[in-house]
Amino acid sequence: MIKKVLIANRGEIALRVMRSCREMGITSVAVFSESDRRSMHVRYADEAYFIGPSPSAESYLVIDKIIDAAKQSGADAIHPGYGFLSENAEFADRCKKEGIIFIGPSSYAIKTMGDKITARKTMVDAGVPVVPGSEMITDEKDAIKKIKEIGLPVMVKATAGGGGKGMRLVTKEKDIVSSLRAAQSEARAAFGNDAIYIEKYIKSPHHIEFQILGDTHGNVIHLFERECSVQRRHQKVVEETPSPLMTPEVRKEMGDFAVAAAKAVNYSGAGTIEFIVDEKLNYYFLEMNTRLQVEHPITERVVGVDLVKQQINIANGLELELKQDELRQYGHAIECRIYAEDPENNFMPSPGVIRHITEPLGLGVRHDGYVYEGFEIPIYYDPLISKLIVWAGTREEAIARMKRALYAYKITGVKTSIPFLNRIMETADFVKGKYNTNFIEKNSEFLMFPDKHEVKVEDVAIIAAYVDYLDRLNLQADVHSKNGQNSWKNCGRRLSFNRF
């Protein structure tokens, strides 16, 4: 049985994993880079190993350093969290070679699901619906034939492509030939390879994913869906479960396919099958995330399961105790991701020192964070500060609760996405549960331009600033008039005045 786990991560997810370790009586080992010495995961862990400079390429991403720390600490297992090395097949292999348990799936599952074309093929073979499309095509006539088969609109994509190059959306029949040629010539110029493939274009789809758990005995279950369509630049912003779009029938079908998808790669551990879903509830496999998902807490809340403990039990070789037909979704949960960013300034990251933090408390609120007053959010990593998760009996009550929690959540020192998130909760489309991945674009005006400022609130802002300005002027005059005498004592007095 696992007795000591090294958590190869930082920030809120490192803390989240360590909490479950602590509940299981497992010793937790932190690793940290130069700029993370004061990070909460180092303070919370039982042990902590320094692994190098701040850039993650020189610390959190260096397999040798992680393995060294694991061996030095005598850890039986490594939990990779999300990001960093969590979907790195080489790392999983290396752990195995060194006799350390990798808390995650086999490197085979990571590799298969990590490559888009292999994953697609594997899903087709397993009978899981994928976005209608072609294999690799080099001949123009074949391409035209295939496009007509699939039906417009389609995306033409270079197989060697990336970064949007060699990609064309075709919506009208008259544009087929010119788009094909443009995509191919662009791909040839950019990658020296004009092979392309065709995919059905799904406009403004929903992004719905299923949580799955598989053990090493071949049992796989799903823990229902998460609706993740509130996205900005393909980054999830708000997630909820159950999805307002879902019907019991479609849920059952998609859940069964998610289980089939995981079984196709002998999946063990926690994983997520992502689907895109159109307005008519047609769904297609998009990809699999072979790790814990950022938004896993909403599933934990409505299903009543600790997914990290499940991961550890599975890594211990235990059989799943949860049975598919005993699981149910209870109530409604929503997660908001709180980022250190400035919504009024094109969501520019806003690192800096946390001066004050008031965390939302009370009924139905879960808060997964890692920052504290005086902590400086490093510039090297993801600007996620915390995740706010609420639960309530109904979706309507959950939205009201999220607004209440966002109201109470105050952070000074850095700009955060809190006002923007609150605005999402007030957007009519969100309130009605009628939204897809186009939500933020469609509602950008409402989201970005809050109600006209009341003069009254403006005046209160003026009062605060002016009183503070005057008090500081007096303070300085006071200090100067003392002519530096007894400066330390004076300073101490002011310090305590300033603080309280």
């Binding site: 690192p351 990593y381 000074t412 400022h453 403006e458 802002a461 600033a465 002016y466 503070d468």
Partner: protein, 167 residues
């Protein structure tokens, strides 16, 4: 004498009429408020006016400039004193652009594309700064000469730290 205070695009005339500890009587553009103003935490004020409870967070950017956050709203507040007025009038002569380029957020210098003495054209990128994996290019708005470079590639920088001086 009233003080000028700028809040976002509005210019307000503000005067403290009387003050007794936390109790402040203040006039803003002729409207009178009786406020109970208490700093409950460093930079966090609880203000009660007509029994309405307000929470205001201040971030001082310097002696007379504040970012002020109320619930879901954020303001730039500037106390316009004699010194600020003078600086403002000078700046206006200087055109829109400041003579010192800086980044509004902390980060790291990725690349410096100029050297001292270079003549750069309007729109040229002078310096690239990265913060949290996002790179921002800083360009000049007019034809300029690079007078001084205060940082080097790889440096970690603070918000508003002078990076490049132009003329």
């Amino acid at each position: 004498m009233p003080t000028e205070i700028n809040i976002n695009d509005r210019n307000a005339l503000v005067e403290v009429l009387s003050r007794d500890g936390d109790k402040v009587s203040i006039s803003i553009d002729g409207k009178k408020y009786d406020a109970d103003v208490v700093m409950v935490e460093e930079g966090v004020y609880s203000i009660i006016i007509d029994n309405k409870s307000h929470n205001i967070e201040l971030i001082r950017t310097d002696n007379k400039n504040y970012k002020v956050n109320t619930y879901a709203k954020s303001y730039d507040v500037e106390i316009v004193d004699a010194e600020s007025k003078y600086l403002k009038s000078r700046q206006r002569d200087d055109g829109d652009e400041e003579a010192v380029m800086s980044s509004p957020m902390p980060g790291k210098i990725v690349r410096i594309l100029v050297k001292v003495g270079d003549k750069v054209k309007a729109g040229d990128t002078v310096i690239i700064v990265s913060a949290m994996k996002m790179e921002s290019e800083y360009k000049v708005k007019k034809d300029r000469i690079i007078k001084d470079i205060k940082v080097k590639e790889g440096d970690t920088i603070q918000a508003d730290q002078p990076l490049v001086v132009i003329e």
